[in-house]
C-alpha cells in the first residue's frame, strides 16, 4: 500500500506561499521567500496546488443559488403559527 502524496511548501516559506496563493501582494522583505520558491520545485508544486484549490472553492461560491420557494412558504406558515401562539399586546 502506498502512502498518499502530501505536498506542502518548505517550512520556512510556508506563510509566504499561503499568502501568495491567497492573493496577498508580496513585499520587498519577502524577496528571500520569492527567491526560494523560484528555485524550489517542491514549493512551486505546493503553491500551484493551493492556488488550484482556492480557485475551485471560489468558483463553487459563485455557483447558482438555492431554490428556496418551498422553504419560504413553509417558513411563512411557521411564522403565522408563532403569531397565533403569541399573546395579544392589547
Amino acid at each position: 500500500m502506498t502512502t498518499p502524496v502530501h505536498t506542502e511548501p518548505c517550512h520556512h516559506v510556508k506563510h509566504y506561499v499561503e499568502g501568495v496563493a491567497g492573493g496577498k501582494r508580496t513585499r520587498w522583505w519577502n524577496i528571500l521567500g520569492w527567491l526560494h520558491v523560484r528555485h524550489c520545485p517542491k514549493c512551486q508544486e505546493a503553491l500551484a496546488l493551493l492556488q488550484s484549490y482556492l480557485k475551485s472553492a471560489a468558483d463553487m461560491r459563485q455557483e447558482a443559488s438555492e431554490d428556496v420557494s418551498g422553504l419560504l412558504s413553509r417558513m411563512s406558515d411557521a411564522m403565522t403559527e408563532v403569531d397565533q401562539n403569541s399573546p395579544s399586546p392589547f
Binding site: T7, Y53, S56, R61, L71, A78, M79, E81, V82
Partner: protein, 206 residues
C-alpha cells in the same frame, strides 16, 4: 438572547415530525404590553434576502441530508422570529450572523446526538451520489464535497464557513466560538489537506 441556551432548550424538541411546531408551541412569548408587535414584513424581507445563503450553509454542513439541512434553517429562523417578536432580537446587519450561528449550533447538536465519528452514513453518501448527479454542474465542486468528507470535523467547518460560504474570519470565529488566530491556523492546515486530496481533480496542472 443567549443563543446557546435557546438552542440547548430547543434540542429537547428535536424529535419527530412536529418538532418545529412543538418548539414554537412551547415558547413562552413575553407580553409586549403597551407596545405594538414588531413588523413581520420587515423580518420576512430580511429572511427572503438571506434564505438562499442560510440554506446553502446548512446543506453543506448536513451534506448529503438535505431534509435535515432545511430543518436546521427553519429551526434557526423560527427561534430568531420568536426572539424578534419578544423584543429580545433586533433586526440589524448582524441578525444574519445570529441565524448562521444558530444553524451551526443546530447542526452541532445533531452531530453530537448522532454519537458517530463520521457524521455522514456511507449509504446516505452513496445514495446522494446516485440520486442527485446534478447536485453540482461542476465536477470539481462534487470533488470538493467528496474531499470534505475525508477531513476532520474541525477542518471541514472552517472550510465550509470561510472558503465555501465566504464568511469573514471574525464571524467564523464567533460561530465556532474559537479565537480568530485559531481560525487562521486551522484554516491553513485544512486548506493544505483539501488541496492535496483534490490533487487528482486538478489533473496535470498542477
Amino acid at each position: 438572547m443567549e443563543l446557546q441556551a435557546i438552542a440547548a432548550h430547543s434540542n429537547a424538541d428535536h424529535i419527530g415530525e412536529h418538532r418545529l411546531t412543538n418548539a414554537i408551541a412551547s415558547k413562552q412569548i413575553k407580553n409586549t404590553e403597551g407596545h405594538s408587535k414588531p413588523s413581520r414584513s420587515a423580518f420576512e424581507a430580511m429572511i427572503s434576502k438571506e434564505l438562499a445563503s442560510f440554506l446553502r450553509l446548512a446543506k453543506r454542513l448536513a451534506f448529503p441530508d438535505e431534509a435535515r439541512a432545511e430543518d436546521f434553517v427553519q429551526d434557526a429562523i423560527i427561534k430568531a422570529y420568536v426572539g424578534f417578536q419578544n423584543g429580545d432580537l433586533k433586526l440589524t446587519p448582524q441578525t444574519g450572523a445570529w441565524i448562521r450561528k444558530s444553524i451551526y449550533l443546530n447542526f452541532l447538536m445533531h452531530r453530537r446526538s448522532e454519537k458517530r465519528v463520521r457524521y455522514v452514513a456511507p449509504e446516505l453518501l452513496e445514495s446522494a451520489k446516485t440520486v442527485q448527479p446534478e447536485l453540482h454542474a461542476n465536477q470539481l465542486s462534487n470533488d470538493i464535497l467528496a474531499a470534505l468528507e475525508k477531513i476532520s470535523d474541525e477542518h471541514r467547518e472552517v472550510i465550509i464557513l470561510i472558503d465555501l460560504e465566504g464568511i469573514e474570519y471574525a464571524e467564523a470565529a464567533e460561530i465556532l466560538s474559537i479565537p480568530i488566530g485559531t481560525i487562521r491556523s486551522r484554516l491553513n492546515r485544512a486548506r493544505w489537506n483539501m488541496a492535496n486530496l483534490l490533487r487528482n481533480s486538478y489533473g496535470s496542472n498542477p
